[in-house]
């Protein structure tokens, strides 16, 4: 139910005023997108080339420094970009108090997944 409130149309439109921010999020979403292009194509190409590989081949591949570096780069940019993109999706469609919680959980999940991925990749690469 919409709460009944007497307010001028302009007052309603102005709301809480301008946050005077938003550029940072928008810009970083674009920068991470551009930064993703190269590692994403590398990753797709690697999948095409190695999808059926056995464990040792895969390990040897990821141990090559260039591949280790690109995998870490991919994980960082991927989850950074995902966090920014999912933030927009949540803000667009969730209008209840759930919004804040959804944003916190989503961001935390992106952080955690990136961390787990990077640690796993480094463990394979550095041969734990």
């Amino acid at each position: 139910m919409r709460r009944f409130r007497i307010q001028t149309p302009l007052g309603r439109a102005v709301g809480l005023g301008s946050a005077k921010s938003g550029f940072g999020h928008w810009w970083t979403e674009r920068i991470t997108a551009a930064a993703l292009v190269l590692p994403a194509i590398w990753f797709a190409a690697s999948l095409i080339a190695h999808s059926g590989s056995d464990y040792d081949t895969f390990r040897r591949w990821l141990r090559e420094p260039i591949n280790t570096a690109l995998m870490v780069l991919l994980l960082v940019t991927l989850f950074w970009h995902a966090a920014l993109g999912l933030q927009v999706v949540i803000e667009d469609y969730v209008h209840s108090v759930a919004k804040i919680w959804a944003l916190i959980v989503m961001r935390f999940a992106c952080f955690a997944l990136a961390a787990v991925g990077i640690i796993a990749a480094l463990r394979i690469a550095l041969g734990a």
Binding site: T8, R12, S18, G22, D92
Partner: protein
Amino acid sequence: MPRTDAFIVRSSDQVPKHPLLKRFPVPRNFGVTPGSRIERGRTWAAPAGAVRTKAFEIYRYDPDGDDNPRLDTFEVDLDACGPMVLDALIWIKNNVDPTLTFRRSCREGICGSCAMNIDGANWLACTRYIEETGTPAQIYPLANMRIIKDLVPDLTHVLAQYEMIEPWLQATTPAPDRERLQAPEDRAKLDGYYECILCFCCTSGCPSHWWNGDRFLGPAALLQAWRWLTDSRDEAAGERLDLLEDPFRLYRCHTILNCTRTCPKGLNPGKAIAQIKKMIVDRQS
């Protein structure tokens, strides 16, 4: 050469030849509150003796009753009415149901009053040929608006959003004795923006404004904001950008471009918004 017309839209007045989908595959009442659900209305037959007729499905809402909105069907005598959709509406009002309510004034696409949703897209009733509409022609008010009566939307909020961008020249330099000078090439920068007739076809067709219209300013207000930002005589660009830079006011635009697709004046709100975003980049870096 294959005809690309069916796939490539060159100007906003082009009606799709083979629309892949007439509407999105969502339930009719998807997200619709009970009071806004559209019920079946009545059918109004053509007058006796009419030869060439065409059915018009029209959204009706009577604020004085307790009933929900409904969809009436009118059989229009094409030989007795003019060529445009607005002519059909006027014919219905004059000959069939005088309570049918809609806004119109200029009947030549310059006042913006008769903006409505015709066959699923926003356009001016006075510049859309009846011939170009489907069978039946489907006439709804502008999408996502509070409806006062029938095809008359309440524009209070979108007009307040227009007011918010302060659509007037702002300068601290004392006004000159004569007109403010502007180089011809600077004047040319207003082309494509000053022609906006505030019909709100674009804002009403913008999905982002549907979901967040309380905070997102929408393409009409933002195109006007750009019209003042790019005016060489204006001295308030900084304050204007401060007002706009907000996750919702400006950045809720996701470059969907329904606005540019639907503007009946052939303007490009999507491009105007991209230019505002770029201006903010220039200010930051």
